[in-house]
Amino acid sequence: MSGLILGPLVAAALAFTFPKRGRGMAWAAAGVVGIAVLSLIRAVLGGGVQSHRVSGWGAPLGIDLRADGLAVLLLALTALIAVAVTGYAAPYLRAADSPEARHRERYFWPLLLFLWTALNALFLSRDLFNLYVALELLGFAAVALVALEGKGDALRAALRYLFVSLSASLFYLLGVALVYGQCATVDLALVAERAPRGPALTVALALMTGGLIAKAALFPLHFWLPPAHANAPAPVSALLSALVVKGAFYLLLRLWFEALPVFHTPAAARLFGMLGAAAILWGSINALTQSRLKLLIAYSTVAQLGYLFLVFPLMTGRDGRFGAWCGGLLLLGAHACAKTAMFLVAGNILRAAGHDRIRELAGIAQVLPVSAFALGLAGVSLVGLPPSGGFAGKWLLLSAGLREGQWWVAAVILVGSLLAAAYIMRVMTRAFAPAVPGTWVRPVPPIMEGTALALALVAVGMGLAGSWFVELLWLGGPWP
């Protein structure tokens, strides 16, 4: 468990000190983290939930780490995406041998490794204050990576992102203060034991939730996401959409289902459900009207995040509980892989065409067949066609909704999928149109196309590995 944090953290420090070794450090960290994740999965599958008392004290005085099925799943997902981005970023950053390109490459690696450290720390920690530090680490790294693009729009988007991220963190932290004042602990499990229903914890949970939904870009606090995700360098956009927003969502799950489940009332759950549904519709409609490919993908993220929040209303009953949980997280995993693939393809298109205006992208399939194929496969998962992970996730959510008698969930999922099909088709029809001479000016290295395809294949194949997900998610989840 410790290697998951120490590995990328030390690598980040070394990558900064020795700039020419940045990529090597990223691969070294990938090796350490890969081994650590695999052995952790084995330990969890074999021996159940794994815990670790940092410094040997244990909560409430010390900080506890805990790896249950959910945490392990997200750690593995993070490792997969981070490795793919590491492979993709090296040729992406070496596009030109200009001072700007060298500058970007120099700072990309340490920032990527910090981001990885923060995500691993976030998934393992059981301590509300420690999670605050991890959130700040995550936010700083994400903002600095967006700003790395260096253009005006990226800088403005990064600044807005930073303001949202910092104020959201402070809302969260004030909530932590109230929790500590009430429970005299910030350990998730101990808070659950000591939590009385009352104004202090109600307001504390509201503060923390408010901060985290801003970080998770849930409608209507999604406004910062499209510019930040669309203007960042392509590998960074992939990381942000696939993982960073999911970190905040993950923490919301921990708060509402483990630390303070007494507050998970039907009214609160319905509010989450309504916001999720609004996000699906609003994000999809906006995706349909975008003229730039990266903005379309970013709005699609806003929509796809909405599905995750449907887990909240579906977790109120007994029958659909586990199905909804698995469906939401399967969807999270499938979206992470599909969205990474899409942003990487967008990066390839930007490289080849010099722009990402959808109207002028005729002939992707001719010039970049692998990328076009990857885009199509990722689209299959986003829309939710079988056998993709997107299909399996939506199916589980749908059947949980029907079992709970919440028909509106089915309606929202259906409409959302139709809209997704429409915006994916918009891009694909351009992709298969005959190429206009002079559009495609630069070649794309095969590894950049291959990485995107690999992730798209994972997204599509994830539906077939659904039973493995279910087995893992059962371990240590919020059920008796």
Binding site: R104, A144, L159, L162
Partner: protein, 117 residues
Amino acid sequence: MPDADPRLYLLAGLALFAIGFYSLVVQTHLLRRIMALNVMGSGVFLAFLALALKAAAPMPDPVPHAMVLTGIVVAVCATGLALALADRVQALEANEETPAPEEPPSAETGSEPEDAG
């Protein structure tokens, strides 16, 4: 001197948080907004320390104290990062107003000369 009333400082902390939040949203100047974030943070720290004083037997609770120290350091890091970013954005906007910029936009990037070896 007897101990202060923790509730007084707790309320002051919450007031700073609200003032900071209001100013963050309403103000447009980047420096004011960065200061507003700092004031919000100070409000949270004040709340933490007031709560620590409530558990003052025989001394205030050291755990929130350590948390606030961590928070102060994180806050100054955030300020440094935000100022650097705000400066870049403001430079852009100043450049947009004058058609002929003094320095090319790429002057902000580029490799460090001292790293030749």
